[in-house]
Structures are given as C-alpha cells and as structure tokens.
C-alpha cells in the first residue's frame, strides 16, 4: 500500500525540529532513515499528520571518542557503525550486532537513533545499548535529559521520549581492560527479526566475571537486562552454577507467544544463549554441554 497523505517539514536545525515537535505534539512523527517508519506508514499502521524530516541535520551525525566516552550521533547509519574503526575498537559488540540487522540496502538508510526511538523489542541495537550501559541523550524545549538505556525502553514501541523531544545521541563507556562481548541471535533467516537474541558485555579477571551484562531481546516487551547474571559474577563458574543461573533466567523472563515461537520455546532459547555466551566468554566449551533443564 501507499502511505496516506501528510504534511512535510524539512527541519533546518535541532531547534527548528523541536519547535515543530512542540507545535504538533504526537500528531507529528520524526523521520530519520525511515526504515521502520516508512513500512509502518505504507502499511497504514500509522498515519501522522506531519513528518518532520531530520535527515539533513549534520549536527546529529558522527562518532567521536573523548576520554573514556564514545559518543554516537542519532543520525549515524547502521553502515557507518559497521565500518567505523572507533566502534570496532571501543564497542566491538556493536560492530558484530549490526551485521545482523536486516540487509545492506536497509543498513545504508537506517539510523541508530531511529532504531532506538522505534524500540522494537526484537531489534538488536536497543539490546546492545542496554548491554553496553549506554546513556541516551534527548533534547526538548525544556532542555536536555540523559536517560540510562535500561530505563529508556518502556515497552513495545514505547520509550521515555516525549512527543516533543528528539533523540540526539548516545554515550557509551569505552571498552575497559578485560572487556569481552558476545552476540548471537536465532532467526528463521539471516536478516529477519530475531526469535530470541542476546547481546552481552562482560569484564573478566582470571577465570571470573567481575561484571556481566546480559541483554536479551525478542523475549519480552523490551530488551531485558537479566538479573540472573548476578549469580555468575565473582564466583567460579561450574556447570551447577550455570544451571542455577539458567533456571533463574527462565523464571525471570516472560516472553510473548507469536507465530514464530511459543513462550516456552523462547525461554528455552534464552537459556541456550546464556550457556553459549558464558562458555564462549570464558573459553570453556565444557560449559556449553547442552540444555538439561
């Protein structure tokens, strides 16, 4: 189908975009890369009255490292993330994850900010932001707010952004010594939305985790930072310890059921991902002996 009629404004600056959003509220929609918004409009799932196109705002583009903070502008495209030496040096989880997002022609248009503001619970980048403990920077007429990624995502397509605010950038702590990451997703075909996925960031010291952030996606109404990971921090990982953590993960998750998978299947896949992740991060293939629960 075709999108229904709407008015169009090409924002000339962030201030101009905020004025437009302030004047039109939730009757307006922000257009960045359009790779989620355009399908929704073409399918008539949404019919905004006004499209505010922020695509020309160069100030929202770019990747910069300053001290121990990696800052990524909202308009940075997936392909820019994929090719950036700064990203692969300081947030290699993102480099790996982006390859799983859709297909080249989509990654050439889709933006980081668009993906985060859209907040599809099955999408990769929101989970990466949670795993990487990112701060989401948003700006409105009353000024700037900084929101921890784990608090930014509120539900299916729901975030902490108000209708009159714009997502400006994200800030990530650069990878520290002993950092390691893991990314894997189960999907019917490469490029499809995940049935279950895991983005993980860890800090290892010897054979132990001193930090472990497991952000599961497509198993809830938003990316889920698993509390069960706490059982794996600071203790020697034995098969029994890992089994306990996997069981706790299963109790903690409340996955949705759809035509792709039942809730128990998603819970099972999440436990499989946890085992694989821990085994891979510690280089202990003995720990990935299969799901026994």
């Amino acid at each position: 189908m075709k999108a229904s009629a709407f008015s169009y404004a090409r924002a000339t600056s962030v201030a101009n975009a905020l004025e437009l959003l302030g004047a039109h509220g939730d009757r307006a929609k922000v257009l960045s890369g359009g790779q989620s918004l355009m399908p929704a409009m073409n399918l008539r799932l949404i019919s905004p009255e006004l499209i505010v196109d922020i695509g020309e705002l160069a100030e929202l583009r770019g990747i910069a490292v300053s001290g121990d903070v990696l800052s990524i502008g909202a308009l940075t495209r997936h392909v820019d993330l994929q090719r950036s030496p700064d990203i692969s040096a300081h947030a290699p989880l993102l480099t790996e994850a982006v390859a799983h997002v859709a297909h080249p022609a989509i990654r050439n248009r889709g933006t980081l900010g668009g993906s985060l503001a859209h907040a599809d619970p099955a999408s990769e980048l929101p989970a990466c932001m949670v795993a990487l403990n990112a701060t989401v920077v948003v700006r409105g007429s009353r000024g700037e707010r900084r929101i921890a990624a784990v608090d930014f995502f509120k539900g299916i397509y729901e975030t902490g952004l108000s209708a009159d605010e714009l997502l400006i950038s994200v800030e990530l702590p650069v990878a520290r010594k002993g950092s390691a990451h893991f990314f894997h997703e189960f999907a019917r075909r490469h490029g499809d939305y995940a049935i279950a996925g895991l983005a993980a960031q860890a800090i290892r010291d010897g054979g132990l985790f001193t930090d472990l952030r497991l952000a599961f996606f497509a198993v809830g109404d938003r990316p889920v930072l698993a509390r069960a990971a706490s059982g794996l921090i600071g203790v020697p990982i034995t098969p029994a310890v890992l089994s306990d953590a996997a069981a706790a993960l299963g109790r903690e998750l409340d996955p949705q059921e759809d035509q792709q998978a039942s809730a128990p299947m998603r819970r099972h896949l999440a436990r499989v991902l946890m085992r694989r992740c821990v085994a891979a991060l510690l280089g202990r293939l003995d720990l990935d002996a299969g799901e026994r629960t």
Binding site: Q35, M38, P39, N42, I51, G55, R109
Partner: protein
C-alpha cells in the same frame, strides 16, 4: 504544507526538477513521473528488494524513501546502470545461467549484486548469499543467481568462470 514540494535531484546523470506530494515514495516517483519502470514495486514495505536503487552511491529501498528525501541527491536506477554498460557482463551472466524467469526481481538483484562486486572483488558464495539476502526471487531458487554473480566476479578478476 500538504501542497506539493519542489525537489531537484540528479537521476542517471540528468538533472530533474519536479513538484511532488510528500507521500510519494521514490519508487513511484521514478516509475510514474520519470517513466523509469525498471525499478519494480513489490511488497512496498522494504522486504522484497525489487525496488532497489542507488542513492549517492549506496543501494537503498526506493519504497522506503520519500521522493522529497531525494532532494539534492544523485539517484541511479537500473536504466542508468544498464545504459552505461556498467552491469553488461552481469546481465549476460544472468542470461547465460538462467538466473531469471519472470524477471520481476532482476533489476533489484542486479543492483544488489553490482553493489557487492564493487565492494569485494571475489566474494565467496556465502558472501553473495548474504549480500543478496534482502532480495526475494520466487522463480529461480537462487542457485542460478548465485552462479551468475560468482561467474561475473571471476571474469572481472581475469580468471576463468
């Protein structure tokens, strides 16, 4: 603001000025305003890849881009790539390998395949599959398409197919 918006862009090397409604997507603009009907419209929500064109050198879905967003851009369609001879060998390989039947997906396939071959001189079959994974073909079962792209890559590298 629902009124037509003036845009000017470069399409296959020619400057185009037009007034378009905001809701018009780039695929329909190319097909209906410029009669460049080689760009096909399949699913209209970014899944099938039939509408793939180049914008500022990158392949994109023209059904997921508004014509107004192409203001100031350089757009290349399958007509442009075909007329310039850029994909002549790829087209020949598609013919030789029977890599098309109905032909609906072919312009998008050629766009995506040429994009890969520009980035990577000799991709393996897995890399070809990965790069074409966003382009659906309901006729060929894909094997012949992969064959054609692989053959073209080898010939361009100066090797026997």
């Amino acid at each position: 603001m629902t009124a037509p918006v003036p845009i000017s862009l470069d399409v296959n090397g020619e400057r185009v000025d037009a007034n378009v409604l905001p809701r018009l997507n780039l695929a329909d603009f190319l097909r209906e305003h410029l009669q460049l009907t080689g760009t096909h419209v399949g699913c209209e929500h970014g899944v099938c890849g039939a509408c793939t064109v180049r914008v500022n050198g990158d392949i994109v879905r023209s059904c997921l881009m508004l014509a107004v967003q192409a203001h100031g851009a350089s757009v290349q369609t399958i007509e442009g790539l075909s007329d310039s001879g850029e994909v002549a060998d790829l087209q020949a390989a598609f013919r030789d390998r029977n890599a098309l039947q109905c032909g609906y997906c072919t312009p998008g396939m050629l766009m995506a395949a040429q994009d890969l071959l520009k980035q990577q001189a000799e991709p393996d079959r897995e890399q070809i599959r990965e790069h074409l994974s966003g382009n659906y073909c309901r006729c060929t079962g894909y094997q012949a398409i992969i064959d054609a792209v692989e053959t073209t890559a080898r010939l361009r590298a100066g090797r026997q197919p």
